[in-house]
Subunit: 396 residues, 2 copies
């Protein structure tokens, strides 16, 4: 093709840092903390097999035929029931099933972003969201954060006015693992109600709350202004590519039209299998088992960091989710560090790609869910030694 | 939400005519020729059940985990092998698995269309493609057709120059059922090679060739300039949402990046199930059985049209696919006719929405694959009577 035949957005497309890193880390000798892959030990294989058998025995033709863009009606009802809490009363009209949560981001980009639209994002923010939104050429406005996450006070009227939306991940954020405190959720909801700010509340990890102290969603505090995104990837299996958006029906109607053009509908088969698995309360026993596993993995990594990281390195202590965020001593560039780490057969994701503004170059993300504890210890050991060497070399 | 918070494309979104019609025709008493649903009698239910069982027994964790954006490697290889014919030698690097062919349209729109880009389409053209492309605000240029389909001679240098691509469906086109003759395929390929025209060759129905006289693809004549789109929806089952794009590796690379932002990857489970079903030559016996069924359905509808349609009505005689295109006597507006047809419990899709320029208002599309032959006879009978009445009323 000639270059001019591509769209401007295609000409700007570059392969993501995470993606390139994941390619390298497929070598078995690499201990990779880079991936965001849920532990396959948590996949309910027996339940999935039984569900697939039932669906393809009881309703094969419906499971293999075209179906409604909105999603499988019983699955929408299930989502509506499950999230009718904290004072919210949802109906299936509030729910759109998406082909993974990632598709939700694409559809939201489509219906809200024009070229040059201002979009508010946390600094740092989820890379996959930035990639999706970027195809529609917004102007990102980074919102400052502290150790507890996004700072609502930073959302001045000038920042909010004219912004298409704020994109935020309040629970165990990717990449930082931070959870937004209740008072800040209330402050954001108040802004949404008072100033009309639209909030995209992305919540793939909310169920992975190790201490069982769930905080109410921002949606429950300002349902008219919030699009809430959920996912089956972390509580069931990511290979199904099943997510959902909860929003006011008028917004769902717009999203449905965008989804119709995007893939007509999410596969009938996977929706019905997932529904068969979750319909009778399976998640009530399954999710606690994931929490127990991941909490132990998090503990293993926190202990290893405590043991191996040189002074001057700090990290988050997540109460859920999959990630720990490290801040190394100032002056260490984690993009450069990664090259050396790969040589030592250990991998992470540098912090820079998660920033839309000036990156904090001495940060990095570690996932603690894919690698077993004994390898966590070994991998963090290598990483700690590498950081120590880098500091010594700079001192010399 | 405030109206200004939506993107311009969202403000322009309107529900499709086909979609609204399908809602009405869900009433069981309606004989609907409107849908493009494959006959569920053709779904290989036993094979799908056995395949799901094997996949979830042999490789459950891989089938439930995140996987490569490009698609399941053995399925890409299978596609590459199957389409290495007519002189083409494809590799898996030429193949991207998509979440239905519809997603292929969205990705192509993303990487080729800027606001105002000129896009050439047949008059009439596939509505689902127009809906997808329209989200990226192209300027459509309709290309005239005759009874054999698109007229290559109409593609003047002025029309071709600066156009991002030509979108065409050469086999049993939706909505007309026409197949493009070999000489015209060669003429289009020559234009592509000589003038750099990019051609999107959409081919969901190519395998449904009743007489087994397949014509070479345009891709096989100009592989460097063609993106070929295929689908498992019409030969296996649409509820899987599985399609693919074959293109030069550099184009695949762009599409992969767009797909990563769109849904990360097509579900691992459905890809592996489909591969299990097709890997050992199942389609070699399955597709002929679909052809036989659909050929009989087509014959039933052609016979019914012959019997019931008043003089002055003409229609296409498709050699494959799912659709017949009717041209009623001049002056009959099929959008108005549809309202009366629904009252008579028979449905079709009016021709107008398939045109990007001035519509031919006396055309309509009939699908012959979903409704059994006895109902085809009854439905076409009602439709013929309605057209006759309309003509009488106009004469009176």
């Amino acid at each position: 093709m000639h270059e001019w035949q591509y769209s401007e957005r295609a000409r700007k497309l570059t392969s993501s840092a995470i993606r390139e890193i994941l390619k390298v880390t497929e070598r078995p000798e690499v201990i990779s903390f880079a991936g965001g892959l849920p532990s396959p030990a948590t996949f309910p294989v027996e339940q999935m097999r039984a569900a697939a058998e039932r669906v393809l025995t009881d309703t094969p033709q419906a499971a293999l035929q075209y179906s409604a863009t909105e999603g499988f009606a019983p699955l929408r009802e299930w989502v509506a029931r499950r999230y009718s809490r904290d004072g919210l009363a949802l109906s299936p009209d509030n729910v759109l099933i998406t082909t993974g949560s990632q598709q939700g981001l694409d559809l939201i980009g489509k219906i809200f972003i024009d070229e040059g639209s201002r979009v508010l994002v946390e600094a740092p923010s989820y890379l996959g969201a930035l990639q999706s939104f970027s195809l529609f050429s917004p102007v990102y406005v980074p919102v400052p954060t502290d150790v507890h996450g996004l700072l609502p006070d930073a959302l001045t009227p000038e920042l909010v006015s004219g912004a298409r939306f704020l994109y935020a991940m309040p629970n165990f954020q990717n990449p930082t693992g931070r959870r937004l405190p209740m008072a800040r959720r209330e402050a954001l909801a108040a802004l949404a109600r008072r100033d009309g700010l639209v909030i995209i509340e992305d919540d793939p990890y909310g169920e992975l709350d190790y201490e069982g102290q769930r905080l109410p969603s921002i949606m429950s505090l300002a349902p008219e202004r919030v699009l809430y995104m959920g996912s089956f990837s972390k509580v069931l299996a990511p290979g199904l590519r099943l997510g959902f958006i909860i929003a006011p029906p008028a917004v769902i109607a717009k999203l449905v039209q965008a989804k119709q053009a995007a893939d007509l509908h999410t596969p009938s088969l996977t929706q019905r299998i997932a529904y068969e698995v979750v319909r009778d309360g399976f998640l009530d026993t399954h999710i606690p088992s994931i929490r127990t596993l991941y909490a132990a993995q998090a503990q293993a990594m926190l202990a290893a960091l405590e043991k191996h990281m040189p002074a001057g390195t700090t990290w988050t202590t997540p109460a859920g989710g999959m990630f720990i965020w490290l801040t190394l001593p100032a002056g260490i560039d984690t993009m450069q560090l990664l090259e050396k780490a790969i040589e030592q057969n250990v991998a992470f994701v540098p912090g820079a790609p998660f920033y839309v503004g000036t990156p904090q170059a001495n940060t990095l993300r570690l996932s603690f869910v894919t690698v077993p504890p004994e390898k966590i210890e070994a991998g963090v050991g290598r990483l700690g030694a590498l950081v120590a060497q880098t500091l010594e070399r700079r001192a010399a």
